[in-house]
Subunit: 260 residues, 2 copies
């Protein structure tokens, strides 16, 4: 399915105005069912849907490894994703647990995750990396992202080893892009504890927590981190880098992991 949609717009430039064809980024409702129970509708870009579903359910605690999954099915035309977990009981317990915590609706689970994260395990295997290597990765990332910058509405995310980008995903939501990365890593059995996450989007506490759950030691963003993400990165021993553009970057936490 196309990630963009063509339409007629009126473009204004100074005193000129004309009708012309343009593209907007597709916003695609994707509803996830776990063992036939409806869980959520994500608004996303219609690519890597299986990865998104698996990554989201991992981030939210519905599954912990590939072994938990019996089978998956995606109906792209209807925007539906079905996943069947082997252990139905533990899934239902999690669902009930969530119900109690959120008291009804919305994004209410998040704060509990925020608190949880301080109980999260610190990064067990710190990763040392050359600053020059990070600059090269950023260059590679920006080149790849440029393709998608045209529509102005997409975030990109990559998982990198020291030798370069291993996988690259894009989505209208920065959380979705990251979930796609982690879903793919799970599905393909790729270890993340010795890798680096690059993202075009802001690093909020939620992005930090998702990455910490996968024990990613270094997170690099083209954009800004928030206070909470910096505090959590400090606590968990994650190296947090923001405003990574060209030759410039800001290192917020865990300076000693960098090699000059």
């Amino acid at each position: 399915m196309d990630s963009i949609k063509k339409l007629q717009i009126m473009r204004i430039k100074g005193q000129e105005s004309r009708i012309e064809e343009d593209v907007v980024i597709l916003e695609y409702p994707f509803t996830i069912f776990v063992n036939d129970e409806e869980i959520i509708t994500l608004l996303c870009s219609p690519s890597s849907l299986k990865e998104l579903m698996v990554g989201f359910l991992f981030s939210e605690g519905f599954l912990n490894s590939l072994e938990d999954i019996d089978r998956v099915r995606i109906d792209e035309d209807k925007g539906l994703g079905y996943i069947y977990l082997k252990d139905v009981n533990s899934f239902y317990e999690k669902l009930r647990g969530k119900r109690t915590i959120t008291s009804g609706c919305g994004k209410g689970t998040l704060f509990y995750h925020v608190l949880d994260s301080f109980k999260s395990k610190k990064i067990e295997e710190p990763l040392a990396i050359e600053v020059e290597r990070i600059k090269e990765l950023i260059g590679e990332f920006n080149k790849k992202s440029e393709l998608f910058l045209n529509t102005g509405g997409v975030h990109s995310c990559a998982l990198c080893g020291k030798d370069g980008i291993i996988m690259f995903e894009e989505d209208i939501g920065r959380h979705n892009a990251l979930d796609k990365i982690f879903g793919r890593a799970l599905l393909e059995g790729i270890e993340t504890r010795d890798k680096i996450i690059l993202t075009s989007g802001r690093i909020s506490s939620e992005i930090l927590i998702k990455s910490a759950k996968r024990q990613v030691p270094i997170i690099v963003s083209r954009s800004a981190p928030t206070s909470l993400s910096v505090e959590m990165a400090m606590e968990l021993g994650i190296t947090l880098i923001g405003f990574a553009r060209g030759e410039k970057m800001n290192i917020y936490t865990n300076f000693p992991s960098l090699i000059f």
Copy 2:
């Protein structure tokens, strides 16, 4: 409370690196209680919290007008907001309704809102406006926003009449910034059906729906709209303008409302 936090960072620029003081934007967990029942924790900027609480609860359907509110209380230090609604029964019904719809967790109510919106009332009072007037409003908006662009992590949102900006809010989340605007409009009894929304953020379906609920006839963004927001704006008779920067802008829907 400050919206930013100072901290020591390592700034890298080419081959140079030095430790210096920098600021990051505060990410503040704010938990909302309705009639002493916990509803949600928003991650936000710690300003206009009463407005955020009221605007959010309006957007989510917990209240419909100022008359529904008995009293509110904000505990800024602890990040807690309490609102007491007069009609407890209707609130509980809504909460129960939501429970059924979302099946447990997350952002699951959204798609139902998306569907709902097509049943939403069309804009009853279209607003005709000069293109030159919009450019002036954008100029005023950009000037105000610049203050907050330093930290790189904040969205701004404004409610405007034809004569200029009436109110201006900022938040780390574009949804929060819009909820603050609508909360303030409700609290101050300001009509929105003859006004214009300006936002720095992307226009997704959720932003469109929030504005449609308040019958705002024109939405202008510095950033991109999504396909779903364009479709909904078309359906509801909303004028949708994107990439509004300086002398340029793209008009996506409802061209006839503009005066050249």
